[in-house]
Every structure is written in C-alpha cells, then in structure tokens.
Symmetry: C2
C-alpha cells in the first residue's frame, strides 16, 4: 500500500503545483502561505497516490534521521530488555522517531562495543540510548561524535553522560512501609552478599523505613546469601529458624525476586504459610517469577519502561534543541519504583 515509487514530484504534477508547494503543505511549514484550496488539492493528491515521504531523502537533506540508536548489552539474557525497548519505542513513536536496536556484549572488549556504536553512528542516528546489562558503572564506548547519549539503568565511568536509574532506596522503603501498614513490626531482610551498590541501597531503604516508623533497624534480623534462589533459601532458613522461636519475624523483605523465591521454599519447609504466617516482599518484578509463585509475590518494580521513555525524551529534546546542555546533569536522575501488590502480604497473626 505505502509509497514504493511515487515521490513528491508525482504528487506535484497530480495536484498541478510545484514540488515546493507540496513540500510546504505536507510539512506544514510555518511561514509558507498557501491557499486552502491548494492545500486540499495537494492533500488529496497525496492521499490518492498513497504517497509516503522517503524518510531517507528527508534525513539526508535535513541532516536528521529521526532515528534513535539503542545499544543493549546482552539483549537475550537481560529480562527487562523488552520493557526498555517498549518505553523507548513509545516515547520515540510519539514524536515521529524510530529505534535502531543493536546488541552488544557486556563481556566483550571495549573495541567491539565501540564498533557496535560506530555502526549506529554511520547510520547517522540522532542520539544513543545505552542500556547496560546490569546496574553498574559502565565503561562507555566513545560516543564522542557529537550525538547526544543517555545511559539507562547504569552510570558512566566519570559521569560523562547523563543517566537514569531506579530509586532503589525509596523503592525498598515503599516495600517495607507496605509491611508496616499491614501491621508488621518484626521484619527481616534477606540481603545479597557482595558490595554491589544495589545491595546496600536496598538495605539502606529498609533501615530508613524502619527508622521512620520508630523501629530499631539494628535489631532486625538480617541474613545474606548469593543473589539467587539458593542464596535466598539459605538466608531465609537462617532467619526463620532462629534459636529463639519467639524472635521469629512475621515478614521478610528480600533483595530480589529470586531470593524471595528461595525464601518461599525455606518457609514451606519450616511449615510457615505465606502470607498467613509470614509475609514476603521481593524486588525486581520479574513477572514470570512473581506471578508464578504461589501465592503471587508482592514486589517492587523498577521503572524500566519509564527510564527508557525518559531517556528517549531527553535525547529527542537534545536533538531538537528544546533543551540546552543543562541536561548534562552530573548526578544520575532517579525514577521511582512502584510497589506491585499481589498476594504475599497479609496482616500478621495476632
């Protein structure tokens, strides 16, 4: 149906006007004064011919492609790439842009990642959205070449590029607050070992929420494990089977959904029903996991969609000059996580 061979020229002759006029009306050029009749003639001619602009030629002429490059590390193994692409695509589409997506390997050499970026640059993308595999400090391939770039879910080494990240501390706080609101006062934390920033940010949020409620965070049961199902199971067992059963927490906040899954198993083995005997909140909103668990898991959802949409918006603003270099904020922008309430939280047993 669309375009194929008819160009602006064909529309022009069909409408009996010049190409200029066609270009003017089709692009709604501000200062071009064209009579309404002519406008209609052009419009209907274009319609009838099924004209679609050749975005390639447009881009060449305007020095702007309307394409955003999206570099995704390990696209196949990162569970949230879909949400990032969707967020970026929605934001892009809304402003007439499209996405050129390219995979890159987080483990590959910097040169190889540089080549991936170069491919995008040769295509003259208007901006680049870089999505690291995990929230970490990225050694960013030289995006020098004058196109704006934004980092989604990570920070750049040396903060050379604006970045968006989830506000994990506030997300963790929201999770704990939900537990507090349900009436829990003895809340345990299943922590991830290692010094990943995420681990401590979520823990800080946990402590902050407790402190705000006038509870002693220092007394809360906290155990660590590897950031997976097994680690969650082990940490969960340690918390749930203490020397003194009276100390048993009535709720657990887990570093991530996988660890929450492990905690479920620990609880099951110890004869604790969820949420009857024990409420659990996770972090990450890996839907497959969260909705498959029984009961389904209440968890904190990082704003992948929102971060990507924000990033795409920033890029477009920068391209279109809507905003100056002020956007090159030094500190990463933090976006709120949202608590997804499912069935793993209930009021504690009296």
């Amino acid at each position: 149906m669309s375009s194929k061979n008819i160009g602006i020229k064909d529309v022009a002759t069909a409408a009996g006007v010049s190409v200029t006029t066609v270009s003017h009306v089709l692009n709604e050029v501000p200062h071009a004064r064209v009579s309404p009749e002519t406008r209609n003639k052009v419009r209907s001619a274009a319609e009838q011919l099924g004209y679609g602009p050749n975005r390639l030629a447009q881009a060449l002429r305007r020095q702007r492609t309307g394409i955003l490059g999206v570099v995704i590390e390990d696209v196949a193994t990162t569970p949230h790439t879909g949400r990032i692409i969707l967020g970026a695509d929605d934001a892009a589409k809304a402003r007439g842009y499209n996405l050129m997506v390219i995979n890159t390997s987080s483990s590959a050499s910097l040169e190889s990642r540089e080549a991936d970026v170069k491919a995008l640059l040769d295509r003259r993308v208007d901006g680049i959205l870089y999505a690291p595999a995990c929230l970490r400090n990225v050694e960013l391939p030289g995006i020098a070449a004058g196109v704006p770039a934004v980092l989604v879910n990570g920070v750049a080494e040396g903060a050379t590029v604006p970045a968006v990240m989830p506000d994990e501390a506030s997300g963790a706080r929201a999770a704990v607050q939900a537990l507090l609101e349900a009436g829990h006062t003895r809340i345990g934390f299943v922590k991830a070992t290692g010094d990943a920033p995420s681990a401590s940010r979520r823990f800080q949020g946990f402590l902050a929420a407790l402190a705000e409620a006038g509870l002693d965070g220092g007394a809360a049961p906290v155990e660590s494990g590897a950031a997976g199902v097994q680690g969650g199971y082990e940490a969960g067992r340690r918390i749930l089977a203490p020397e003194d059963r009276a100390d048993l927490p009535t709720a657990l906040f887990c570093h991530n959904d996988l660890m929450a899954m492990g905690a479920y198993r620990a609880a099951a083995e110890l004869g604790l029903a969820i949420p009857g005997d024990l409420s659990i909140v996770g972090f990450g909103d890996q839907d497959l996991i969260a909705t498959s668990l029984q009961p389904s898991l209440t968890t904190v959802a990082p704003p992948y969609y929102g971060m990507a949409a924000w990033a795409a918006g920033q890029l477009i603003d920068a391209v279109e000059g809507t905003v100056g270099p002020a956007s090159t904020a030094q500190a990463p922008t933090l976006l709120d996580c949202t608590l997804v309430r499912r069935d793993s939280v209930a009021v504690p047993r009296p």
Copy 2:
C-alpha cells in the same frame, strides 16, 4: 571518533584523487582498475581522517538501506523477544545490516499494526521480520509494498508469507526419548486445555515417542489444565494421586515450563521427591523459571535464536537476489528444538 563531517570528498582531496576513485577503492568495485599505489593512498587518507561512509547517502543512491525492519508484538511481555532480536542482529551484523525494531500490539486493530509497518516502509527497510506474540495464525498487516517479509514463530493467514516455526512435535519426542533412555516406562503428560495447535503438536510428539518405543500411548496418564502454573498443579495432582497408587507414573512431560512448575508443587505436596521419585521435563526453556526451580528443570528449548537468524538470512538473500521467489515456500519451515538437560530427570526407582 567516527565520521562526523568528513566525507568522501575530503578523502579525495587528501589523497589527491577524484571522488570516483575513492568510491571505487573503498567499495572494492570489481571492474574498477585502480593502481595499487592509488589504492593505498586512498586507504590511508580515509583511515587518517577517520572516514566512515554516510550510510544514508549510500542508501539513497543505491536504493537499498541495509536495514531490516523487525516488528515485535508485545515486546515487553513476550519472554523470548531478547533471543529473537539477538538472532536477527547476529545474522544481520554478519552481512552489514542493522535492525530497526518496532513494537506493535497483538490486540490492536489491524490498522494500527499497519501504521507500524508503514513507518518501517517509509524508512525504506529492505525487508521485514514479523514476530507474533505467540505461535498463532497471524492476520498480517499488508506488507505488499514489495519488500520481502518473513514470519517468525507464527504462520500467516492464507500463507502469503514464508514462515519459520519450532518443530514442536520433534521437540516433544526428544523430551520423551530422554525419559525413555533414563529407563522410564510409565510417563504421564500434562496437557494444556484448548485447541491451540501447540497443545496438540506437543501431545502428538509425546504419543509418537511412546509408540516408537513400543509403549501404549493410549494407556499413558494424561490430564489437562490451563496453560499456567495453577493448571499444571491441578493436572499434576490428578495424575499423581490416582485411585490406584500402583499406576503412578515415574515421569511427567509437561506442556510448558509454567505447568511443570505447577507439577513440582503437586509432587511436593504428595511427598514425591524430584527427580528421585518423579522425573519431570518441561517445554519452553523460560530460563528464569527453569533455572530457578529446585531441582533445575530439564526442558525443551524452542529455537528462537535460530528462527530469527534464519529469517534474517532469508530476507537478506531475497534482497540481494541470491535467491529467487522459490523461497516463498508454502509450508512453514520447521527448526529443531533442543533438549536442555538439567537436574529434573533421573533413573526411576526400581
């Protein structure tokens, strides 16, 4: 580092030759006879200036963009999009192509999906890879406009477009064979309700494998449930708690990983250890699920990566005229599934 403002012209003056010559050597034009010295001059000049071709201008001139359009239905909620993008990207990159990815909604009107395709067509993509949300009969938006298209993991209504699909029957057969090899003879099937083609194809594979082994498929315990965790649980309970305990199967093949997850729970409740008392094989290889279960789940992996790579290759072949319209095969191409062996299968108790 890359390109920016230097064009072929700059390289030409720097090398003291004409643009024609530069174009000839940089593109390694077959019939162009250029002296080796000139070649070197050009090459080094290009290198020094950090020249990169403007793919836009190239495309306009050559009438070929080197871009493959990838339309993905519900990109955010389809667990395998990552693998599809990776497969297509690897295949594309290998031949100098890139991917323009656009999300579309499987539930939206045909017009809205048509608009998404049109955006790609306006960009003059060389081919379109369409990936439906699930393996179903797709009402494909008119891709008439002369660009080749391939359907990945679905079939087109009226078979207007070549398609690739997983060979589910053979995948199911491989799963059951693994169970047979381990020594199982009483194998149950956890089926998905509904008349989805997948459900019956996997069931057919199950029966075929049994028949090949000389076993009576008709006598095998088969129960159905909704294609999720709960359905798997319910069907699992029915199979595992029969009137006559002697009939208990020693292994279960499940329609998908989610149902397998439900079967795990059913087994646990009935005091059956996996894989000691009961072996289980799933289908789908949703890594988050399969690797998170305890024990990790042996499952059949559909060739998402391979299908996308195959599709991209087909498109490029078609574009480059390597292949005639012969590729417009009527029957969908079937690609083998692979069995991913993990820890949920063992030899049966004697």
